[in-house]
Structures are given as structure tokens and as C-alpha cells.
């Protein structure tokens, strides 16, 4: 199958030189259509917070520095599934880690709404690397006008502070 060839090519490329904040592996070595992707919350976004960083407020400066070294970014487990018709049909991206984000559904599916993944927008020449980078970019810049969670989008637009607070809290609670 042609698609397997292409997928394994992309997989090799992504594992050999992964884009910033993204690492990929197959969920099951025998199945190239299901990928396990770890996306690190981009710096400056409320998804960047580590599970420890909220402690830093309370500790002294010296310990803060040591803590910083053990700090790690919020890591989100993302499932990428490729249709057998790939690259003619778009892949789907879903967050296995719960995330508070206007463009990710707040249910067990956690499906992400990406413009480039819509069937009429998708181009076979788009690569998975671009999809994942776009998904990570969406963490820094949510697109409230394209939202699947209207309430979060509303909050993002009108009450940015509260949105960031909740997103940070969820990141601490759920991200690893």
C-alpha cells in the first residue's frame, strides 16, 4: 500500500528530527495508522505550566532555582489517527489528555477542530508534521471564532484572565 510507505516515511522523519515540543511514536508497533503524540504546551501559554510550578510562588528564591530544573512543561497526549485513504483523506487529531481549550471538545473524545483537517480544506500534500505544528500553535493562539466549545471561546474573548486561570489549573491537574 502506498499510504503505508508514505506514513512510515513521515514517521521516520518526525522521529529523527522532531519539531520543537513534539514527539511521536506509534501507539502499536504493528499499526502505522495510530500514532501517539506528545505535545508540550508552548511557552507563554497557560498550557506551559508544569505540575510543580505553582509551588514556586511559595518557596524562596534559592529553592525556586533548583525547582526550576526539575520543572517540566505540561505534556499532552494526543492521538493521531490516519485513515487508510491517507493522504487523500485528512488525519484526525484528538487530545487524550483533558485540556481546557476552545478548539478541543471537552469530552472523552477530545477531538480537535483544525481548519486544515476539514475535508474540503485538506490537501494531500500537507504533512503530519505540519498538522502537529499547527495543533501546537493552536495552544498558544486559540481560534475562538472556529471553536467547538462555545463557552470557553466566549470566556477566552471576554475574560482572558479567568480563561488562563482555568486552563492552567486543568493543565496542572491533567497534563503530565
Amino acid at each position: 500500500m502506498g499510504s503505508i510507505k508514505r506514513i512510515s516515511k513521515e514517521l521516520t522523519e518526525l522521529t529523527e528530527s522532531p519539531p520543537e515540543g513534539i514527539s511521536v511514536e506509534l501507539a502499536d508497533e504493528s499499526n502505522v495508522y495510530e500514532w501517539k503524540v506528545i505535545i508540550e504546551g508552548p511557552e507563554g501559554s497557560p498550557y506551559y505550566e508544569s505540575p510543580y510550578s505553582h509551588l514556586t510562588v511559595h518557596v524562596q528564591r534559592t529553592t525556586f532555582l533548583t525547582l526550576l530544573q526539575t520543572t517540566q512543561n505540561g505534556k499532552f497526549l494526543v492521538k493521531l489517527s490516519l485513515p487508510t485513504e491517507y493522504p487523500f483523506k485528512p488525519p484526525t487529531v484528538s487530545f487524550a489528555t483533558k485540556i481546557y481549550h476552545p478548539n478541543v471538545t471537552n469530552d472523552e473524545k477530545g477531538s480537535m477542530c483544525l481548519g486544515m483537517l476539514r475535508p474540503d480544506e485538506w490537501k494531500p500534500s500537507s504533512k503530519i508534521a505540519a498538522v502537529l505544528q499547527f495543533a501546537r500553535q493552536l495552544l498558544s493562539e486559540p481560534m475562538p471564532d472556529d471553536a467547538v466549545e462555545g463557552r470557553i471561546a466566549e470566556q477566552y474573548k471576554n475574560d482572558r484572565g479567568r480563561y488562563e486561570e482555568v486552563a492552567r489549573e486543568w493543565t496542572r491537574k491533567h497534563a503530565c
Binding site: G2, K123, S125
Partner: protein
Amino acid sequence: MSTSVTASTSLPDSRPSRLRRFSLRTYTQNLSLPSGQRSYRHSLSSRIPWRSSNPDSISPTANSTTSPCPESDHPTLSRYTSAPAPSYGFGTELNSQVSSTESAASTPFNDLAQTSNSMARLRSISAVHRPPPRTLERATTNSQESTPSPEPGLAQNNATEPTSTPADGQVTPSKSETKATIRFFPYQDSLQSSRPSLPFVPVARTLPSESCVIRVGRYSERDGLPLPNPTEPSDAPVGFKSKVVSRKHCEFLYVNGQWHIKDVGSSSGTFLNHMRLSQPNMVSRLYTIKDGDIVQLGIDFRGGEEMIFRCVRIRVECNRSWQQQPNEFNKNTESLIQNLGKGEMADYSGCRECSICLGSVLRPYQCLFMAACAHVWHYKCISRLLHSPDYPMFQCPNCRAFTDLSAEVDDSNDPEEKREKEPAEDRASNDSSEQADTMVPSVVETNSVQGPPDQLGDLAEEENLANDVENLHLQDDQQTDDTRSSASPAPNSSSDDLARSATTNIPGWQPTQPLSVPAGRQSQLRSDTPTSDDNPLTPRNDSGPLAFDGRAGMP
């Protein structure tokens, strides 16, 4: 509130019959069906107000002054009926309902569960049946559309339609070097799974001047079918063989470097990306359109079962002509072809990757497919997109440009080449001198350069032969440029072509150079062309099939 309840409850069961009555009524002059008409109109207008996505068609005044005259505001259909008079009776009958429809409008969206498809259809039908205020008198004049009508909108259109439109005075002539081109393709809305729209041959137009307007309307025998893809710039009107298209339906204008569309008073509407531009028989304002937009003319009538009643869905492609002229990318592809079989060793800067399988296309013995945009894939990889429901239209998965795979093979390059070859022999002796050519007026026209008499001595020729040999590589590049610019669809203005191609970043062309320098090169390269007359394997002939004028890649 009781009225609203009846309005919504009467909806589901009455809809199919309503549609049937609609067609019956308009076709058999059976115009007095008050009860059917009543429920139809009632339920329709009850859903109009909250379809607020289209402010044009939902102005409250239009609602309150519903003045139905379906016949007269539907000139395409009025041919089948000869008695528009009874519609006035409806007017009073329906006006009495307005109050109830207004209250119905305030009910919750209990019809939202309906599919958007049928909603859209109903909405557009309702729009047809809900002419704006004042249309009563206007529409009656409109029903004799063929006679010059005193109606202001139409009169204005008639005035602006002739070749030069004084109304478009704001057009900037400075952008004339990039010719405004537009192409229309049939578009099948596969996602909405609606009925197929009217099939038609793709139409391309290049505006001769920016003030020209492309008129779109119903095909008429009198006008004849204009050439769908003229090689010369043309603003010939575009006609569609559908009854739902008005004779004067919409216009495409090029204003300030941007394409626009305007409904010029069509009866069944012009839709830009599903949004109706104007109410029936009303002239709309200008709407900008961009590459890839979908324009729909009219709506299916009688379910669109017969071809002649289908609406027209057009995918618009704007200003893609740069892809059909020599540019860095398709020149790279040309060298790709020349490097075929050399494998990864090939010294070549362009894209060598098939975007489908991400493998190289440079290996030998592979079947390749090249689209008109000069993107190349393995045939096996791309074949799935070639043999699609959209065939013969093919959309490039890399750049989204559309290619008509059924287009005639265009061999119009050949005569051009011959024309160049004939004078080339005597040119070999005369214009290898750069000094002579720098004195040629800066506007370089391929044919005019060929004109100068044989005025230079053999000495000058020999002197410059050495130069020529040194410049051979450069000349090859140059030459393909020349054949292309002269083969491009605007031979009457190749000064434009040269200026344009100078701005499109072609290897070997320095946009900053004065135009006289290309003149010198151009003449230089002529000095080595005679060989190509008898030897088909010279680089010159080699470039023939690779003259990417947008048609070379088509089968």
C-alpha cells in the same frame, strides 16, 4: 400565539404538496389556489426572520410589504404563463396574513432540525416569492425583459455594459501589466450531496482592459455560443443553458486589482458562497470574489430533474495566469524533465518530490503526471485524484489550481515557432550586434525586432559570434522565454508580456535592467537558431513541449 402554532405545525405535511403546487401553479396558469398558497407562504415567511445570516433578504420592510407577483418577478417562468394579473389578488390576500406571520416569527426555532439543504431551498424559494417593496410596478415592467425597460437599475446596466464603462473610472490603469484573468469551472457540491448542477465547459476570460465587464446570463441562440477559451483577451459574455439563469444575471468586474461580482437584477438570484447577493430583480452592490469562491446562479427548479432547470454552480479561479507563464517553478520542472533518469545525482534545484508518496520523481522508468501548474507526481500516486467524480476537472493537490483534463491539446506554439524560425536565418547575420539593438526602441516586440534590415557587415557578425558561443547557455534559457512570451495569449501586446515576465522573476531576466538589454540578448540568441531548423534534437526544439503556457501539461 395560536397562529404561530398552526404555522409551524402545518409545515411538515404541507411541504411536499406545496412544492408540487408551486410548479403546477407556475406552469399551468392555475393561479388561484388560495389555501395552498396560504400555507406555503405562511410557513415560509415564518422562518424568514430568524434566518438572519442574510440581512439583505430579511429586511423587515420586505416582510411587511409582501407583495407577491411570482409570475412577473420570475421572468424565466413567465414565458409559460400568460396571465400575470391574478397575482394582485394574492397580494391583498397575503397582506392580510402579515400580522400572523410576524407573530410566527417570534416563535422558537422549532424547525431548526430540518436539514440545511431543504432550508436553503425553501429560503431561496421564499426569496423568489417575496419581492421587495415597490416590485409590484417594477416587476411588471420587468416581465417584458426583452424590451428596453425604463427601470432604473436595468437602464443603468445597459448603459454600463458597452465595452468601456465610464462608471468604473476608479480603475487604476497602472496595474495593466498583470492582466485580469478569470476562469469558471462547474462545481459539484459533493459535501452537501445535493443534486448535480448544470454541467458546462470551463470558461476562461482575460480582460482586454480593466474597465471591461464580463456579463453572465442565459445562453441565447441569437448570441451564439462564444468561444469558451479564447486565446486573445476577451470580455465576451458567458451564457449558460439553464432557464433559472436570467438573460442578464450577473457581472464580473475588475476594480482596483480585485475581482468583483454584481447581481444585475436576476430573478432567481446570484449566490456567492451560499449568500444571496440581492433580492429578485434587484441590482446588488459589488462583492469581492477571490480564488476558489463558489458562485451559484439561480436555484434548481422542479427539482432540477431536467437539465434545463438546473442551477449553475461555478467555482471561480481568479488571476491564476501567472501560473501559465514562465516562472521559476515551471522552469524548474522543465529542468526536472531534462534530468529524468539521472536519479538523485541530477543537478537541479526544483522540487523533486511527489507530494503524495514523498518519493523522488527523478528515478527512471516511472510514469509521471504533470499538471498544467507544472506540479509533478507519480501517475500511480495521483491517479486517484485524476479519475475522480469531478473528472474532467482536476484540482492540483499542491496549489489547488484547476486543470481541465479534457481540454483540447493546444499546439498553438508551433506556428509561433515557425514564424520565429523563418526570419531567424537572416537575423543571424544582422542583429548579433548589441550596439545596434540597444538603439532599438525600448519596447521589445518579438516580431518588430525581426524586422530590421540586414545592415551590419560580416565583420561585426564574426566578432559577435564568439560572444554568442560564450553565452550559449544563457541563450538557451532566454530562448524559451521568448517563445513563451510570444506564444502567450496576448500577442498584440507583447510589450506587456515582457514587462510582466520581467516581474515574474524568471531566471536570466533582471527586472532592473532596461528593456533594451533583453533586446540585445534576444537578438543574440537568434544567431544560433538556424541549426534548430534541421536538427530536431537541439535545445530549441527540446523546449517546445515544455513551453509551460498552461496547456502543455494537459493530455
